[in-house]
Symmetry: C2
Amino acid sequence: MARTSVEAERREQIIQAACEVVSEIGFKSLRVADVAKRAQTSTGTVHYYFDTKRDLMHAAFEWNFNQSLERRRPLLESHAEPRDRLRAFVDSYLPRDPVTVTAWHVWAELWVEALHEPDLQELNENVYGEWRRVMAAIIRDGQDAGQFRDGDPVLLANALIGMIDGLALQVLLASHSMNVDRMKAVCDHVIAALES
Amino acid sequence: MARTSVEAERREQIIQAACEVVSEIGFKSLRVADVAKRAQTSTGTVHYYFDTKRDLMHAAFEWNFNQSLERRRPLLESHAEPRDRLRAFVDSYLPRDPVTVTAWHVWAELWVEALHEPDLQELNENVYGEWRRVMAAIIRDGQDAGQFRDGDPVLLANALIGMIDGLALQVLLASHSMNVDRMKAVCDHVIAALES
DNA sequence: CCGCATATTGACGCATCAGTCAACCACCGG
DNA sequence: CCGGTGGTTGACTGATGCGTCAATATGCGG
């Protein structure tokens, strides 16, 4: 070995830049040169690590997913009561801080891109599957603890997740009638209905 | 006038073609030539009616919205009971038949495009606003008739609509764990909870 | 049947980028 | 200090596709 490898950090640096650019201007408008600039490097270097723009974006989508899981791991372990865990979990998806907003933007782009790309559908399947597993587990724990009403946990998780996705989209769209606070109100109401 | 105008029908023919192409391959991959071919005309003619590709797509998004409203108008008038009206209304959004699936695809593209285009955000505001108005009205009628539980109709409408949006997206993404039947099951369950 | 407005066409010009490449640089081991 | 691997660069190329345009067609009124 003639040199200590910088591959890992350079790849992440470029991927993160790609996510930021996608969030700002959208996949459709994204140029490889934009990503290079944001990552403070050149298009040549971007292509040194990613053969095609498509490869780069797939890696970015995957990274965005893993980061989201990672960020929430501590949260799931820091609330003993299922009731609190559910609220904290749902709360963490409110598009409030820049990091979460960026993650949502990238997800939205993934969805639309995946409509016509089976590879990305598989990635979405993992994202959604993991999300549903976590949510269903919290609900099941809550039911066992007598904190939540009865009902198929998976079905309830799907209902909650679907609602969060749809509401977040409207918030991101700068809808006059849907903002983070209203979204929280709707989520709180639904969770309360689950508890009572 | 030297000739009877064909503008109206030609515009619609092109717009409809644009929606079909967007649904099939996505906005990002859509070429003006694709739309021309699908509309059985030439790129020159497309540009005769729409100055830019952007204009064409904005018109297409708007048309998609108006058609969706139009299609559901009879449905809303043919059910005397709010209970039945809600079920029929929600049912009509299940991505089952090709027309509905295409409409959903176009909506999804609109959302993501609108994330970076204020003009389209305004259009989304109309779509979403109208949808929420209709849904909230049904819920209010149902509450007045003693068929639905109490609760802010607008908040409940937002919850339902958000959920439908999110679930439909997953169905469209050919998710293994979310298909039309499961989506219907989730919707039915939530509506039942609203009724009891 | 002529004149004119409306409509249609597709080849072309021009700008935009993804991806390539040849030159060059940085670091480490020997 | 030299050789080699790993890493970086940005100018360039080839392809692509939007929008233009000049030529042409179509139908109606007079």
